[in-house]
């Protein structure tokens, strides 16, 4: 690819913002561990989980829909794993399979309702969010009388699962590998396959897509299932690593994932976006979050910095893009 084409990439801005944030924290918090290996590992671990959610969320948003239910899908999936293993005595892998099946059903239901009724997905998935969150709380308390379930390490197959979902490679979490792999896969699907082409069309001009014979509804349903399965995967990471789960796991992750996607240049109105951008958005978010802690800002003022750094990052992002657009002409 020529230099001009690289300049035209939508991710350029967010990459610049990531570099700027890194430099900022390297200067302000460099001596308190931000630059160490374990410091780097700490924000990468946050970015990895968020990034795994943000990739399918970006695809869904490019196709013009939202999924607000991924946070509570995480809670429901994690609790399914925990309950199946501790209460029913299933091996861990069976629990994970059950959770994945549940997540797939949730995604299917979301997609089905959205495409059939043409209701805004914002509302439909908000409804699913409530139903799943409430269902998780109600079921868990009914069965265990508590809101936390632990003791997963006694389940069969925990050892292998731990290596796969919660292992460490040096100081780095294995989720990093998952993140890289899934980002590469999602990027490939988006820019190099037919379904990827359709995703852009479905979000950019739904009527045109329909007239050209693209199975708009099927594309959307599959994307809703993908976001739900990604939520289940992240829930699996957390449940295995922390050997248990609670009913509030994942609350608010949906907004973080949307934020990461938008930071990475995905349009809220659909039709444009990139998976690599979403990954960079997740990295930026994780770096800012951890960087503030490293720089020792008082908890009371934490959010002020988060907000300010966010706005500055996006400003930098957009000004770089504008420069690039001018250079292109």
């Amino acid at each position: 690819m020529s230099a001009r084409k690289w300049l035209a990439r939508p991710e350029l801005g967010v990459v610049a913002a990531v570099v700027a944030a890194w430099l900022f924290f390297a200067v302000t918090a460099g001596d308190s561990g931000f630059l160490t290996l374990s410091g780097t590992a700490s924000y990468l671990a946050i970015a990895a989980e968020l990034g795994i959610l943000a990739a399918p969320v970006a695809l869904l948003m490019i196709a013009g829909e939202f999924d607000l239910s991924i946070g509570s899908t995480m809670a429901a999936s994690g609790m399914t794993i925990a309950l199946c293993t501790t209460e029913l005595g299933w091996p861990l892998w069976a629990g994970i399979a059950a959770a994945a099946a549940l997540a797939a059903c949730v995604g299917l239901a979301n997609g089905f309702i959205v495409t059939r009724t043409r209701l805004p997905s914002f509302i439909v998935t908000l409804g699913t969010l409530f139903i799943l969150a409430g269902g998780t709380i109600g079921t868990t308390r009914l069965i265990t009388g508590r809101t936390q379930v632990g003791g997963l390490e006694e389940a069969g197959g925990f050892g292998t699962a731990q290596k796969l979902f919660a292992g460490q490679i040096g100081p780095f979490s294995i989720t990093l590998l998952w993140w890289l792999g899934l980002t590469a896969l999602a990027t490939w699907v988006l820019v190099r396959t037919r379904p990827g082409n359709w995703i852009f069309a479905v979000g950019g001009a739904p009527d045109a897509a329909r007239r050209l014979g693209i199975p708009v509804d099927r594309v959307k349903i599959l994307l809703f299932m993908t976001t739900a399965l990604a939520a289940c995967l992240v829930a699996t990471f957390q449940t295995v690593q922390f050997r248990g789960t609670d009913v509030l796991r994942g609350t608010g992750k949906e907004l973080e994932a949307i934020l990461a996607a938008v930071l990475g240049g995905t349009l809220l109105t659909g039709g444009r976006g990139s998976v690599v951008g979403a990954a960079c958005g997740a990295l930026l978010f994780g770096m800012v979050q951890q960087g503030i802690v490293f720089s020792g800002v008082d908890s009371d003022w934490y959010k002020v910095f988060l907000g300010a750094v966010l706005i500055l990052a996006v400003l930098l992002n957009s000004s770089v893009q504008m420069r690039a657009a001018e250079a292109r002409r």
Partner: protein, 304 residues
């Protein structure tokens, strides 16, 4: 006044009594989950009907509206937590004026009594935090992190305030670390980022903070050198206390806050009986290596 109102409410005791509970913490919160278990058990034991309501977030306006709705349903008794007396005053006075007997639990105390509450069952969060701080100080902790998973929630803020005050008194210092209760990964990484070499103690406000704290210490190879203590119990917390990873856990015995409030309200509405005390303290009690194993079973059942 008390006797009169009692006789007024005993009259319709032939109908199945209905009590309403409104607190500032949802049953999805592990702490309040135990409170609710106490309530449900007492409802079964006493043969009364109890409903439990709480706002979606720490929201005093929403909470006062919930009390209003419950008062409009005319329950035989009302059990409330009163974290912000001035915000809830109007609703509580409305309950009093409607002749509904009120018991405050968890938070409230003297302020709630001024607004007509018959009795308070619970502990002072500040005092409990302070007791925790004193005990940590005794263990030799001087530089501590107070992990707050709900900044802005007055109960949690008071716990950290008491803890830090106690630590300061012995010349130590501490820092409040705000974390996200719903994401253990984020919480763990944040604790690790705040874990500078001089830190020798971590005080968490509940299980959402303590598991990530332990995982972080394990990963940083400082498990054992950094002392960990926490509020509130769970089977995992107790196992960690038993194994010596957690120095102690502060227990409010909040099950009693739920259980006793329903029992006492039932006795009061049926027979006009009421303990001759203004407040029944339920905590703080400390769970340590010595007694941890004994309460694990209770914790598994959601009683502690």
């Amino acid at each position: 006044g008390r006797g009169e109102r009692a006789s007024a409410t005993t009259r319709d005791s032939s109908v199945r009594a209905h009590f309403a509970v409104v607190t500032h913490g949802q049953a999805s919160d592990p702490f309040w989950s135990v409170v609710k278990n106490g309530i449900d058990q007492a409802a079964k034991d006493m043969g009364v009907k109890v409903t439990y309501q709480a706002p979606q977030t720490f929201d005093m306006v929403a909470m006062s509206r919930l009390i209003d709705a419950e008062v409009a349903r005319k329950p035989s008794g009302l059990i409330v937590s009163v974290p912000d007396p001035s915000a809830l005053a109007r609703s509580l006075l409305a309950a009093r004026d409607a002749g509904i007997p009120v018991i405050s639990i968890n938070a409230g105390g003297a302020e709630a009594r001024k607004m007509g509450a018959l009795l308070h069952i619970g502990q002072s969060e500040y005092d409990a935090g302070k007791a925790g701080g004193e005990r940590m100080a005794k263990e030799g902790v001087r530089h501590a992190i107070c992990v707050n998973h709900e900044v802005g929630n007055i109960s949690q803020d008071e716990r950290c305030r008491g803890f830090l005050d106690a630590l300061e008194k012995v010349g130590g210092k501490g820092r409040v670390l705000a974390v996200n209760a719903t994401s253990p990964t984020d919480t763990q990484q944040k604790i690790m980022a705040a874990l500078t070499p001089d830190v020798d103690g971590i005080f968490t406000l509940g299980p959402p903070g303590v598991h990530p704290a332990l995982a972080g210490l394990r990963q940083a190879n400082r498990l054992g050198t950094v002392k960990v203590a926490t509020f509130d119990l769970s089977p995992d917390v107790l196992a960690a206390v038993r194994d010596g990873q957690i120095t102690f856990a502060i227990d409010q015995q909040q099950y009693l806050q739920g259980y006793l409030s329903v029992v006492l309200l039932a006795q009061y509405t049926r027979h006009g009986l009421l303990p001759a005390a203004e407040a029944i303290p339920t905590g703080p009690s400390f769970v340590t290596k010595e007694n941890a194993a004994a309460v694990i079973d209770a914790s598994k059942k959601g009683i502690r």
